[in-house]
Symmetry: C2
């Protein structure tokens, strides 16, 4: 259903307003049960992954490329000047779409049959969260668990950087920060925390022979909290050259997932 | 030499003007032989690595933390409102410093004795270039070579993301794009290109037994040029889950450097 709109203040465009205001958007999107996808490829992947579109927003020239995925949802056709005034930036990848979030699955559902799980404590940057999802998906990890303060993986930028990996990866929020790691251990996972702690062993050694693995990563700045670092069954390090303090979280997660994916069986 | 300045248009502040204009800054900095470092830790690392400061710019409260590295260079002390008007953004890490670039070393100097070298074709994003430098340094790579169109690793954002790895890593620009890989082969390097080409072998296999390795990465979007892909001695892939098209360049370089650093000897 194509609907040309020329007034940026039209109420039907509310899902797309002020996209540059990250904090406002995170609250608004989660509270209203929506997320935004940007660019033809990612929009298409969201539809293919079974998410229900609330609406699409694009300039006329992008319609043909996405026509087959529109279904029953309204398609707001706007000039670029309108979308720029509405969203606050130049939508250079052409198409935007608003989708309904699905309820987060339970921990039981997410962990059912999982052998390799990534657990993120407080990764607060959406770019990093997206990169981590993409790497974990590429390395065939089964699921991702997010601590309560970890950034939203369905935020537009996280989706884009992750190339839509968040649509197919099983993931959920941990209900409780405090007991999260002991709870995973009790469920039969060996929790391995990436850290610079003095008793950390090389990651290859830490994951060797582990059947059900929960690989645990901390935040960009401070790394893991003391509680999580100590609560993990093992502490592991990616061996690094002398004088280098750490890798960034996207690089560290890629290496750790690569090593974990190749671990020898239990 | 502390010099309070209250006028953002003061000519002595020219090195710090319009920092948000990436294109303008890249040209201006390279042509004027300077680069900027931001934040106490990175500024300190630049001094410790032997770069000569042209000047420092900061609010009064940051002076004590950096006083020992000032040397003879002028320190422009400005209110935050002045630095914001001058630079175009809020300098939240406190201190900025302008340093003299050093002349780029020759290829011979950079490759002298090197066993593991990373070669970047057209990585155009400063964040990615910074992340790649940081990962290569962490994995004890000896040198990095940049194709003519690769982004500047001494651009402020690249330095910051790389945590100053660019100061200690040996690197230079390749004088010529066309013959770069055959030239490296002629110098005794085995050039291994990361690609999705049909004849690519798993990276572990490709680097096994290689003495002098030149690991070759392409741009964020299109990957390697056809010329470089075919000119490489080998094509290699990081094995990925079905349905995933690629890792981002920071993640891919971290994994590839990790694997290469652990390769069995020739």
């Amino acid at each position: 259903m194509l609907t040309p709109i020329s007034d940026p203040s039209d109420a039907r465009l509310a899902d797309y307003r002020d996209l540059r205001d990250v904090q406002l958007r995170e609250h608004l999107e989660i509270e209203n049960g929506l997320f935004l996808a940007e660019g033809e490829k990612v929009v298409r992947r969201a539809v293919e992954a079974g998410f229900t579109p609330r609406s699409f927003l694009m300039a006329e020239k992008w319609i043909d490329g996405l026509a087959e995925v529109f279904g029953e949802a309204p398609v707001y056709v706007v000039d670029e000047s309108v979308s720029e005034e509405l969203t606050g930036f130049h939508v250079h990848r052409g198409a935007l779409a608003a989708f309904e979030r699905k309820p987060l699955p339970s921990l039981d559902e997410v962990l059912d049959g999982a052998r390799s799980v990534l657990v993120l404590e407080d990764v607060v940057d959406h770019t990093n969260v997206g990169a981590v999802f993409r790497s974990a998906a590429a390395m065939d990890f089964d699921a991702i668990l997010l601590a309560p303060r970890c950034a939203d993986p369905l935020y537009r930028r996280a989706i884009k950087v992750g190339m839509g990996a968040v649509f197919s990866m099983r993931w959920t929020r941990l209900p409780d920060w405090h007991s999260a790691l002991p709870d995973l251990s009790a469920r039969g996972f060996n929790t391995v925390a990436l850290t610079l702690a003095p008793d950390a062993v090389p990651i290859e050694e830490a994951v060797a022979g582990v059947d059900r693995l929960a690989l645990v990563l901390g935040s960009e700045g401070r790394g893991l909290s003391a509680r999580w670092e100590q609560a993990a069954d093992q502490r592991a390090i990616i061996p690094m050259a002398a004088g280098i303090d750490s890798l960034n979280v996207a690089a560290a997660s890629a290496v750790a997932c690569y090593v974990a994916a190749r671990r020898t069986g239990a």
